[in-house]
């Protein structure tokens, strides 16, 4: 498993290869499904004048919380392997911001694991987004739908 936090853009092929290789080492011949989710920065302001977002994090805790989350997903969905990457710092619209990947014998577990990682990441990993325009910046508010998605997993437990 892996959980990475950093400023630099990430490489799809490198992440996919790492996930596939780890899974293959653990269960050769029994990895049928690999799912990846990549989040890009959206210009989600109706005015269309947002240039991007600035991501603040809690160094140390962010890495630990993301590691714990990936391990929880592996246990909960019996994944063969999983990984997550989140960027911090200043990101412009359309840039890659987050990646999660899951490997499992079957498709359902890989898809559920990836969804779980994204839902819980929005709840339990200390990262904060601030949208910026040319002249201003504003903290992004928590979405009620994000809280609900995370709560649903907690209830299912």
């Amino acid at each position: 498993m892996f959980a990475l936090i950093g400023d630099a853009d990430f490489d799809q092929q490198w992440l996919y290869n790492r996930l596939r290789q780890e899974a293959s080492q653990k269960a050769k011949g029994n990895v049928g499904a690999i799912v990846t989710f990549t989040g890009l920065v959206r210009d989600n302001n109706a005015d269309g004048n947002i240039l991007g977002i600035e991501l603040e994090h809690y160094p140390g805790m962010t890495e630990q919380a993301l590691t714990n989350l990936v391990q929880e997903a592996i246990t909960r969905f019996s994944l063969t392997s999983a990984g997550a990457v989140h960027r911090v710092g200043r990101l412009y619209n359309d840039e890659q911001i987050v990646w999660v990947g899951t490997a499992a014998p079957h498709r359902a577990a890989a898809f559920e694991g990836a969804n779980f990682l994204m839902d819980m990441l929005k709840q339990s990993v200390p990262l904060w987004k601030k949208e910026f325009t040319r002249d201003n910046s504003r903290w992004v508010e928590v979405k009620a739908s994000d809280d609900k998605a995370a709560l649903a997993w907690l209830r299912e437990k």
Partner: protein, 90 residues
Amino acid sequence: MNVTVKTFAQLREITQEGCFTLTLPESAVTMGDVITLLKSRSDKWSQALGASAGSENGSVLMARNQQLCDIQTHVQPGDELAFFPPVTGG
């Protein structure tokens, strides 16, 4: 006893104190006690932690040694305590 206090995002901006050492009286044993103490530190802290901090639906989250915790959590000398708003990553 001494602890380190960290703040992030809006709380860092409001308090204008991102990281500092706080000396606690012997009577301060829980995160709730620390919050009471911080609220009396300045108007900015009072505003940052608000009325709801630490309550069930509080809009302030807290961590002890980089683990999420709540107002009942006990505090030890040398702890790293952090206060921040709900997270918005992903």
